[in-house]
């Protein structure tokens, strides 16, 4: 899989080169390189424990890889900056927002407050202005409320603003997390399994929401997802990780036909898989159930 040369290197959002991340003996990411282009929806797939979330954590500054470098041009026209060693909130300010695999909202805050927290990280008024109730601070407060409500409506939670985040339904919490991420006005959005634990109807809506965010806000999306139908329907390109290494990269069609990918998912060797794929043309990745559907326990608590 040779990555296709990019027409204009300025249009690269994330430029990841040879990163390796180890936890003691465990190698979570092994010499991974990738490039994410501006405006695309790039999906990262791979079996459990492949290192997808670890990649996200490296890109957002939660983990520091032992080797390699990561360059970021968060918003169009930005000059490239290295992500390694930067604090998470600094990277967020550079235009990278994310959601989490196991939902991490602020449960004791209301839904609208969750979004406001994100929106307000871009505001100026300090504690003194707040204590004295300065007019500009009040204006900012009104602005953030309005912006947060606009975002909530955008993800279809317009009516639920005053509910506690923890009292929302599972799918709603997932969408609230997306709204919160959008609140920081990002150039690139990292979604970690946004469809996990949602029903088919919600999955369709989610796919629609992701493409809409990508289209209308011109936000590049990096998407981890196990649901192949969703990935194939929204992704422009796909990267496949297995055991911490990148094993494939390409368009959805290419990935579906890739014997190494099929092997990784079926747990057989690449040659076997290739033979199987030719023997049984109907065997398609899209039918592979990569993960057991979540049980009720998994839905209600992590």
């Amino acid at each position: 899989m040779i990555p296709q040369p990019l027409a204009d290197t300025h249009d690269v959002v994330f430029d990841v080169e040879h990163i390796t991340l180890r936890f003691g003996g465990v190698v979570s990411l092994n010499d991974v390189s990738m490039q994410m282009r501006r405006g695309e929806i790039l999906a990262v797939i791979g079996p459990n424990g492949a290192g997808k979330t670890s990649l996200f954590n490296v890109l957002t500054g939660v983990y520091t890889p032992q080797e390699g470098r990561v360059l970021l041009r968060g918003r169009p026209g930005d000059s490239p900056v290295s992500v390694i060693g930067k604090k998470t909130h600094v990277i967020n300010r550079l235009g990278v927002a994310r959601t989490f695999q196991n939902i991490r909202l602020f449960p004791a805050l209301t839904a609208i407050e969750n979004v406001k927290v994100a929106v307000e990280t871009r505001q100026k008024a300090g504690p003194l202005a707040a204590m004295l109730g300065m007019p500009w601070q009040r204006k900012e407060e009104r602005d953030s409320t309005a912006a947060a409500y606009a975002l909530m409506r955008d993800v279809g939670l317009g009516e639920r603003g005053n509910e506690l985040a923890s009292s929302l339904a599972y799918g709603e919490q997932r969408r609230l997390e997306i709204a919160r991420a959008l609140g920081t006005n990002p150039g690139v959005l990292l979604l970690d399994e946004p469809a996990a634990g949602t029903n088919p109807q919600e999955k369709r809506e989610l796919a629609e929401l992701i493409s809409r965010i990508n289209r209308e806000r011109n936000i590049s999306v990096l998407l981890i997802e196990h649901d192949m139908k969703l990935v194939m329907s929204v992704a422009d390109r796909i990267i496949v990780l297995n055991f911490g290494g990148k094993i494939a990269e390409g368009t959805p069609e290419e990935i579906q036909r890739n014997p190494a990918v099929v092997a990784a998912y079926l747990g057989t060797s690449a040659e076997d898989a290739a033979r199987q794929a030719t023997d049984q043309p109907e065997l398609h990745l899209i039918d592979t159930q990569l993960e057991p559907p979540p049980t009720d326990e998994e839905r209600s608590g992590d």
Partner: protein, 759 residues
């Protein structure tokens, strides 16, 4: 490195094989046995706790021996058995326990038991209920009902009430409910008459609370009976009931309470109390005839006082009854005018008396409680008016009580409640302290006041930002020493242009504490919860030891400050206030400081920084990923908390005048954390309530239990609070939400006791 995601568990644990019946039986009997043992040990510990510790207070063996041998041990073991039975048969009891009236019943019994076991009943002899019974038995000249009441009648009434109410609840017969009501009222009347009987015979000055507690307890029992008789509901809904009461005529309960209090104040209360005399309103008027008191005060005592009362009461009742916003404003204005008039008259009275007959006592020391009670009652009227003003249109809500009430309405209700409560709290804070005895005024200023401020400040750090700071006292010390330095009370004198009066040092103390807060915070805030607690603990200790060691002869070491820090002075234009040795003025100074701090912090809590703190507390990683600069926010929490303690330090330094390093020990630091946790982490009123209750209680217990036992009872109360109400006395809105989802939340969530883990 934080673990972001727990790897998914791929192998579900197989369900355990169905246990054999015999094993299950064993299991339950073991649980029961454990529970019984726990309850009996609990009863035994209770027995040890209420022991009077005859003999040497340190001879624990002796105490143990006494407790174990006395037959009263049986009582406590019996209590243990009752609790055991309660827990075991909870399933059966529960269907009845949820019925209306059960909670008031329990409450009433609790109040009566506390009154008849813990509280004093007759001060001249310092006896409790039981002691008074022995005295009454020995003395003659008391009516027979009084003797009976102390002998057997009161406990019999309680037992009867319990049995009858229980019967009413189980059989659903209303008659039994009414019987309890009659019993309760009878008990209240008997308790009142018996106590006054004793007073009439014995004489002397009595401030004991036992009889009053008893009366209230019996009245609650009567209320429980009425509730059982009147309510048909299966499940008690006290909140709904309260709402309906308030909805019926907005603020009516406050108005009625105010009317009763005011009537009592004008008709019965003592207004003027020079040495050895208690004069009520009318007699005070007579006493001031012919003195050179100004005409307004004279008229007030003559007729204006009553007119004030009638006008305010009529206006307020009309406003609540007609739900008229305009009338509400009128009533509030009238209440304000009445308060000012009353206060002005009181001032004239006390000044005239202090001038003409100095032996009657200094200004403000020769007044009775009456005038201040009247002021508080006007506060209640004003609260009712505020309720009317905040929610004039409640009729619709009252009608749709069965429908789910819309959120907007609930919000309006909450804000109305809050306004009314703020008015009442203010009235009480302003006018209650003057009624207190010198002793309690001293306690209020020296024990409570400073801790109110400190608790409010620590609440920022612990409650809002979620940082466990065990060295908070260090900032208090920095504030106090800064003030001492700038007022020239330390060996090192400030340059003359920097020498100032205590109140002027406040900004400097705040800056010093801000710097100290940042100095401590910057290197340590990267640490996680428990480690931060240890480091701050060390910081507190370091500051104290530095103060002891007197580096550069700055702090004067263990000898403390000298000369004393001067008392505060304030001069604005020609207007001059000086504080001296009297306690009460300090209370008002503190009230001003507290009011400012609370208003500022209330705004802060609902600002972006307040939300950022909540976010960090809830999930630090997610907060960072949402762009929150967590280190900065935490630093701000530290600094803002520290600057509040600077205020407290200044207040403390100039009020006591003298202090030394021993006052800033770790123990005090941990006490403040306890106040915040007890009151409700993250709740402004909670922090204040926690500090108030926990500083008041030890002083109160001084006269009720042996001195050595005080902290034990305080500890028991805190323990009970953490078990039964972990969110605290007045839980924070945000925290409450957090705790109520405990059962669903991640297992890492903190709770006092794991679900189902209690015995």
């Amino acid at each position: 490195m934080t673990t972001l995601e727990t790897p998914p568990t791929t192998t579900p644990t197989p369900p355990p094989p169905p246990p054999a019946m015999r094993r299950a039986g064993n299991e339950t009997s073991r649980v029961l046995l454990k529970r019984l043992a726990g309850c009996l040990i609990g009863g035994f510990v209770l027995g040890l706790m209420v022991n009077s510790k005859e003999g040497s207070p340190d001879d624990f063996g002796f105490v143990f021996h006494q407790t174990a041998l006395k037959p009263r041990m049986l009582i406590f073991l019996a209590i243990g058995v009752v609790i055991f039975a309660g827990i075991t048969f909870w399933g059966y009891l529960r269907q009845h326990a949820r019925r209306p009236g059960v909670r008031p019943l329990g409450m009433g019994i609790l109040v009566i038991v506390v009154s008849q076991v813990v509280l004093n009943w007759y001060d001249p002899q310092t006896v409790k209920f039981n002691g008074l019974r022995k005295l009454v038995d020995k003395s003659s000249g008391l009516s027979s009902t009084t003797t009976w009441f102390f002998d057997w009648l009161s406990w019999t009434l309680v037992a009867l009430s319990v049995v009858v109410t229980g019967a009413a609840i189980v059989t659903r017969r209303r008659v039994f409910g009414w019987v309890t009501t009659v019993l309760g009222i009878a008990g209240a009347v008997l308790a009142w008459t018996a106590h006054s009987d004793v007073l009439d015979l014995g004489g002397g000055i009595d401030h004991s609370l036992g009889a009053y507690g008893d009366v209230i307890g019996f009245l609650i029992l009567a209320g429980a009976g009425a509730t059982v008789a009147l309510s048909q509901a299966e499940v008690a809904d006290s909140r709904g009931f309260m709402t309906r009461v308030m909805e019926y005529r907005p603020g009516l309960p406050f108005a009625v309470l105010g009317a009763v209090l005011a009537a009592f104040s004008y008709a019965r209360n003592c207004w003027f109390a020079p040495v050895n005399r208690n004069l009520d309103f009318a007699k005070t008027h007579d006493a001031y005839q012919g003195t050179d008191i100004n005409s307004l005060a004279s008229n007030y005592l003559g007729w204006l006082g009553w007119v004030c009362f009638v006008v305010v009461a009529v206006l307020t009742l009309a406003a609540t009854y007609l739900r008229q916003r305009l009338l509400g404003w009128l009533a509030a204005g009238a209440a304000l005018v009445a308060t000012v008039l009353t206060f002005f008259s009181l001032k004239s009275m006390t000044d005239v008396a202090a001038k003409s007959v100095p032996q009657f006592g200094k200004s403000w020391n020769n007044l009775g409680a009456g005038g201040f009670t009247a002021c508080i009652s006007y506060g209640l009227f004003a609260a009712a008016a505020a309720y009317v003003i905040a929610r004039p249109k409640t009729r619709a809500a009252g009608k749709s009580a069965t429908l789910p009430v819309s959120r907007a309405l609930e919000k309006a209700r909450n804000s109305a409640n809050m306004k009314a409560l703020i008015v009442i709290a203010l009235a009480v804070a302003l006018f209650y302290p003057p009624m207190l005895s010198q002793y309690w005024q001293n306690v209020l200023v020296t024990q409570m006041a400073v801790y109110l401020l400190l608790a409010v400040g620590l609440n920022v750090v612990v409650g809002w930002a979620g940082l466990l700071d065990l060295g908070y006292i260090a900032f208090y010390a920095v504030g106090a020493y800064t003030t001492a330095y700038l007022t020239g009370s330390l060996p090192r004198k400030p340059p003359s242009w920097l020498h100032m009066t205590p109140l002027l040092t406040i900004p400097f103390a705040i800056v010093a504490c801000l710097i100290a807060g940042v100095l401590l915070g910057a290197p340590t805030l990267r640490l996680r919860g428990d480690y931060l607690a240890i480091v701050t603990l060390g910081f507190g200790e370091i500051i104290q030891i530095v103060a002891q060691n007197n580096p550069g002869n700055f702090t004067n070491g263990p000898r403390g400050v000298e000369p004393p820090v001067p008392h505060p002075k304030l001069e604005i234009g020609g207007w001059k206030i000086t504080w001296g040795l009297d306690n009460l003025p300090y209370w008002y100074l503190l009230l001003v400081m507290l009011a400012i701090v609370v208003v500022l912090f209330y705004r802060l809590e609902n600002s972006r920084l307040g939300r950022a703190w909540a976010a960090i507390r809830e999930d630090e990683v997610a907060a960072q990923a949402s762009g929150v600069n967590t280190v900065r926010a935490k630093l701000l929490a530290f600094a803002i908390g520290a600057s509040t303690s600077a205020l407290a330090g200044t207040f403390f330094a100039s009020q006591t005048g003298f202090f030394d390093p021993t006052q800033f020990d770790i123990f005090t630091s941990i006490l403040i954390v306890a106040y915040v946790v007890f009151g409700g982490m993250g709740s402004l009123p909670g922090a204040m309530a926690g500090a108030a209750v926990l500083t008041w209680l030890p002083e109160f217990l001084k006269s009720q239990v042996p001195t050595d036992d005080r902290q034990m009872w305080v500890g028991a109360l805190v323990l009970a609070m953490m078990i039964f109400r972990p969110a605290g006395l007045l839980p924070a809105k945000r925290r409450k939400a957090e705790l109520s989802h405990l059962d669903e939340a991640s297992p890492g969530e903190v709770s006092a006791i794991p679900r189902g883990g209690a015995m």
